[in-house]
């Protein structure tokens, strides 16, 4: 389970240098270049493309324990939590609802 130290710091180093570059290079170039609206629009698709791609396999392939839901209780809860989150527009409520529902489903 433990994450090896060298592996961990390698990743943190790569992630931080890369992230700082992403955040800074347009700010440092600000007096020299302009970004067109089309590129800006394409960038707005990033969260919609990457976050669901992270969530879906994590939840879909999870082997659960509730037989009535074929072990897919996390998928079931996620679908309901998505509905709740859509209306509540609040992270605390989404996480609270999801964890509580999962707790009751798996403990009952």
């Amino acid at each position: 389970m433990r994450i090896e130290s060298l592996y961990f710091w390698q990743i943190v180093a790569g992630l931080s240098v890369g992230t700082f570059f992403i955040r800074s290079f347009l700010i440092f170039l600000s007096s020299h270049i302009r970004i067109n609206n089309r590129s800006k629009e394409i960038l707005t698709f990033i969260p919609a493309a990457i976050l669901p791609a992270l969530i879906a396999p994590l939840v879909f392939f999870h082997k659960g324990q509730v037989e009535a839901l074929h072990g897919k209780e996390r998928l079931f809860v996620l679908i309901l939590a998505t509905g709740v989150s859509y209306f509540a527009k609040n992270m605390l409520i989404t996480i609270g609802f999801g964890l509580t529902l999962l707790y009751f489903i798996t403990q009952s």
């Binding site: 994450i3 992630l15 170039l29 969260p47 976050l51 791609a53 396999p57 605390l92």
Partner: protein
């Protein structure tokens, strides 16, 4: 202006605190040392990519895949810095560094929402720095709290499940119209179908194809 920025950030912290608590307790459950958890949090300072990285590290994904995935998540900051860059044109080198480092979803959102109130670029900068200081204070303290108290959470609470839940809450507000919804749906389906690819590459491929779909769906809108 600095304090107005600081104050404008306070309502947003209702979203930062639970995310920080999750970040801290996930780091604790992944058996990171205090140095690792705090170090990562201070150096990277980008929650969603940190959560994804910890998750992939626990699956022993290759370093290149973990870094690439995290960086793709953080590519959205490029959009923010593009929008932010007019304010920093005349700023000093140090200010530019501080502004870059502290650029987050929340500081960007607060600046964007108050854009009309600034008389000068300097005012905007001071407002931004105030909101960034507030953001960092709240974020780092909630991560520390999560890291300390994550220990007392029983395993039956399945705290790791808070990661997908927090991502749902992060992504939903970004689905501004049908095109974004199609991109998100394509990304979910493709990531499940491409899961068998080695080195967790399915995730990256799914995201890139979904981006391409979004680009295709909105083609020709800026024909000028």
């Amino acid at each position: 202006m600095f304090f107005r920025g600081f104050k404008a950030m306070i309502p947003i912290t209702t979203g930062i605190i639970p995310f920080g608590l999750v970040m801290g307790s996930v780091a604790q459950h992944a058996a990171l040392s205090t140095g690792q958890a705090l170090g990562m949090n201070f150096i990277v300072f980008a929650g969603a990519s940190q959560l994804a990285a910890i998750d992939l590290m626990l699956q022993h994904a290759s370093s290149a895949v973990v870094i690439a995935t995290g960086l793709i998540i953080n590519l959205r900051f490029m959009l923010y810095s593009a929008a932010f860059s007019p304010f920093t044109q005349k700023a000093s080198f140090l200010t530019k560094i501080i502004c870059s480092y502290s650029l987050t979803d929340q500081t960007y959102a607060v600046l964007k929402a108050n854009e009309d109130h600034f008389k000068t670029k300097n005012e905007a900068l001071r407002f931004y720095l105030g909101s960034a200081v507030c953001m960092m204070l709240i974020w780092h303290s909630s991560v520390v709290l999560g890291f300390i108290f994550g220990n007392f959470m029983p395993p039956s609470l399945s705290l790791d499940y808070a990661i997908p839940l927090s991502f749902v809450a992060l992504v939903l507000p970004t689905l501004k119209n049908r095109n974004y919804f199609y991109v998100a749906a394509a990304a979910s389906i493709l990531s499940v179908l491409l899961k068998p690819l080695p080195y967790n590459l399915g995730l990256l491929c799914a995201a890139l194809i979904a981006m391409a779909i979004g680009t295709f769906l909105t083609r020709g809108r800026y024909a000028d």
